[in-house]
Assembly symmetry: C2
Homo-oligomer: 123 residues x 2
DNA sequence: TGCGAAACTGGCCGGGTGGCCAGGAAAGAG
DNA sequence: CTCTTTCCTGGCCACCCGGCCAGTTTCGCA
């Protein structure tokens, strides 16, 4: 058997730019091992125009702030974060405050949303 | 210039599954007209694949819950959501409570994170 | 050696949050 | 018509959150 493990990979296209979409369609259509997905067909991978999150304008966050941010994204309360990191709740609040400031957020939910949008964290 | 309209299209790969990533790399590498992006290079398009665990499995949310959820993701407080939707804070809390229950979240931040992960909302 | 940045801790307090109780109105399904 | 679902509202209350004030230590850099 060993039937073709390399059966065709089904690719979907999600490109807004018609010109780019056409070029990619033409190019990929001739590649053996790859097939473009039909309408409604489930694809193994999708080609999208431009990666939303790879916008590097890195925000300068300290290591500790990243630790706190990651736990915030998990839904942890300040108390849980404090226990997890072995520090006091006051210190957690201190870092959260810096995070809100640097991420220009109004609250922890907003902070996590902004961080996710900017690619600082991965949900 | 009319520079080559058929200049190489730079593609980035973002595939969780290593096997699939390898196969795609091998296949796409041989296609003339396409070049894979180097590290940090800006690509015209990105090939993405969802990770196996992120299957749709739509959560049954009512329209009102979706309204509240969307505003929560913007960082709005219950009071702001109430004003925005023209309902009382109590009603907002009611919907938030249902949201926490349905999304299996411990708080509003967790709820937004879960919803984003499951594709219920877009950040 | 001084100086700033980062990390850490404390108290205080107004307002936000979430869970509990209770109820009512409207629309659709049986 | 009755029953269910969704949506809506109120009160009450313990707890959490974020912002304010204050302070200490440690580290690297000029």
């Amino acid at each position: 058997m060993s039937a073709d493990k390399t059966a065709e990979i089904v690719l979907a296209l999600e490109i807004d730019d018609p010109a780019l979409a056409d070029r990619l369609t033409a190019l990929l259509d001739n590649v053996s091992g790859i097939r473009l997905a039909g309408p409604g067909e489930q694809a193994a991978a999708t080609v999208v125009a431009r990666d939303p999150r790879s916008m590097p304008e890195d925000i300068a966050l300290t290591q500790r702030e990243l630790d706190v941010l990651a736990l915030m994204a998990e839904g942890s309360s300040n108390k849980m974060i404090a226990r997890q990191l072995g520090i006091s709740v006051h210190t957690v609040k201190f870092h959260v405050g810096s995070l809100l400031d640097k991420l220009d957020a109004t609250g922890r939910t907003d902070a996590v949303a902004h961080a996710a949008r900017r690619g600082v964290i991965e949900l």
